[in-house]
Symmetry: D4
Subunit: 146 residues, 8 copies
């Protein structure tokens, strides 16, 4: 039995690679999918597919069409969602992915620094588990298999 | 035929009163509910009901239990959700309420300033309508009735 | 016991008024809602609320945001959907509303002229009842009450 | 991880073969299903299975029974739906398949020529992405995998 | 608090009137709806609305369209379903209504004579309660209110 | 792509073997499951597992527990349901399985002799396709694959 | 706006009356329903309706049919569930009602003494709020209204 | 065709090993998953992942977060749930898992000793089958395959 894990969250550092590596070191039966992690591509995909748009709002709207398409396809396949929140940025798409996991009955782990406890308290309360580090998230995944 | 509207979003100014007043001036058939708008009460409700907690994290977790209880009761009753995002704060509970509206098939209007277009683009893309002002949101509500 | 009926379909003649009048003459317990039947308003509502858009596609997209908001609010309230197809126009929003009725478990009556039998056969096959005239649709509504 | 794509839409040209070929050239992990693309068979299948019917309406109704059976079986298996609208015909079964994708939470790409922007605006607004060419649709599929 | 009860089952005797009278004598808060109990009308409604059909099968199919429309409208409103099976007839529409109640989460009482225990055992097993007499069914309804 | 077909219906002749053989001759990608077709076992399984029961009603109720368990496990796995009604017996469990298929969105083929057209008309109206012979049912299955 | 509250839990003391009185003193907009609180009636209702059963197991099974009927009817009407666990008895029906509330999206308050923290930890974790006293539960209800 | 079985229930003896061994002896196509059966680990996992907590309640709450995560991941994968209740302990998490199986449409076998008939009667009434021994549960599983 293997499990698909959707890794929602910021795309400004390499936290996904770190997490996946730790899971692979332990040889755990998890496969990973994620939103587009190439930030420029994620911003430009709308114009890249649909052509130049008449302004920033329209460029963003076109990109979000295709980013949301990708997320919906991959999250439909996921057995588990991990959502990582960092200290910068609004990260509302991460909050959206995490909430969708809850509403669709997909078990959810949130990773967030201690500094965000207050800001994320209602969403954290809906997650199955909230942790502070990648290692803790990996321990929770591992717990399913032992 | 009347409609219940859940007003998600920041509780740091009086945008709800402004919106409700404009709707009442036009005598439109909408009734409004909202999260707890008394900010201190919203932060303290956990300890107020359950007693002193052993630290900030536990205080916040207890408060979010009861805030989420309130939101779930009232959003279950809502026909429409309006979510307002302001320029300050992370507002992840607002993002959570807006996403839940989408996932539950409740029509959603997002109100956000132009400065947030990029940050909120994926969530905005899932809303039925995104506007910049209270007046525009009221016009969208009014459109249901004419 | 009263029933809410959503009247999907073309807005180029007064078929809704005709139907409602016949139902009222028989004093039947049905209340009616519908998409925006003011055609110009339906086309212009996007720019009216959101301001001028940078072209026809964007104007149409903005209008459809708000038209779909209205439809979703009102169809959520409906116990029954009647969808009328005429001989002109593509009427894909009518097909969309009719299909949504089927998928949401809302009983559906389609009204269409004999000339459209072939073109609409798969959708007609999913409806509860397909008729050719307003009078027949009224008879089906009446049958619920006798 | 592979994905099943249901190709809804007109059966009067070879757009499906074109799309599938482009996907195979890129060696992307998509498998394709579709409605019956043999137009004569699609019209005659009712009488072919159930015997001669007493008129055109009954012949069409019998055929749509079996076409809808096929569509429901295959769309239940689909992870993604692509719906192509051409300039001819009413294509209400395509609109029905596209709407069902939306209602069932299956990510949807609409392909339609610029000339249909206005007619399809409400349905297009519910799709994840609307494009004008097969190449653009293939780019959206590819985006899920990079 | 009042409850709507759908009375599925045979239309060849006056069991509904008997049951409703007993409920009214006890002044219990139940309101009743049912399929068409005028048997001739139920058989003829298809041709009555749609005109003469080309044979018995087509007459029956047209009638069942409209009977199923009525049932779906009224069962959607029901809080409780009572399905009575008698010793004559196949009563497959009654079995269909009873099964739909189970699948939709509507509490179900089956009334059937002792002679049908074996034939109906799997369906009876899915009902909340199976009884043999109208009086017993009324006692179960009454139990909700005391 | 292969499909699981649940074969609901009478267990008094070998119609399942006939159907499966015809499908295998054509080398079609369908796998079959069914209720318990050993009639005596189906009647006795309750007492066989739970020990002697205090009477016929209790014996039947115990058997139906386990028969319904089997049906639910296997129908959850099914992509398609075929329900065959014969001229003898009440076959309410077949009607129950057919209705459950409809309610769960599983495409349904009903096979019934001409003599039952009237008795089964409402249920037949909810099926995707109703045919009279095994060969016709096989043709409908085959249509999914060509 | 008023709310229906289902009061699940033990029927061996008058906690429901206490809670209802406190809510009425505060004039809060809640209406209450509950399982059968007459313990003897709850145990005997099966035989009372269906006649003497052939043993304790069968008497209990008959009673549970009718108790579950009552619970399902009333919980379907509930906006909120409060489940009280006491120190005696297994109270598995209370655990069942509480879990059903969670699975159906009905906001849940659990009331349990400190001594049960460990035993109920997984269920408590799924509730919105867990408290120790009736007064605390009333405060949570009140919070929805202020 | 193989089936995943979730084995809910007490973790104080080796009933799972016994059951699995009997299924393997018969070479039946079932795969098994379960909650954490290492009792100490199950109690300590919260602190093990999240660090020391400020008291027993908080330790238990942290553990239940991660135990519920595990259960949700594995039960989502299950085709069948078997819930065993023993004579000791409250076993409310077992009642929760069993109820969730019912609410999610997963076929449920309850195993409980005769002494618990009365206490578990309402939950037992919702299960597909209730038995007293492991051997009986294995016979019910086997019945799906013969």
């Amino acid at each position: 039995m293997t499990f698909v894990v959707y890794l929602a969250g910021q795309i400004h550092d390499d936290w996904r690679e770190t997490l996946i590596e730790k899971v692979q070191e332990k040889d755990l039966p998890f496969e990973f999918v994620s939103p587009q992690t190439n930030h420029d591509l994620s911003d430009d995909i709308g114009e890249q597919v649909l052509g130049e748009q008449p302004g920033k709002y329209y460029k963003d709207d076109a990109a979000s069409d295709i980013n949301n398409f990708r997320t919906q396809v991959l999250m439909n396949k996921a057995d588990i969602v991990i959502a990582l929140f960092g200290e910068e940025y609004r990260q509302w798409n991460t909050a959206m992915d995490a909430t969708t996991a809850v509403n669709k009955g997909k078990p959810l782990i949130i990773v967030r620094p201690e500094s965000l406890i207050h800001a994320i308290k209602e969403l954290s309360n809906k997650a199955n588990v909230t942790v502070e580090t990648i290692d803790q998230a990996v321990s929770v995944l591992e717990y399913v298999t032992i």
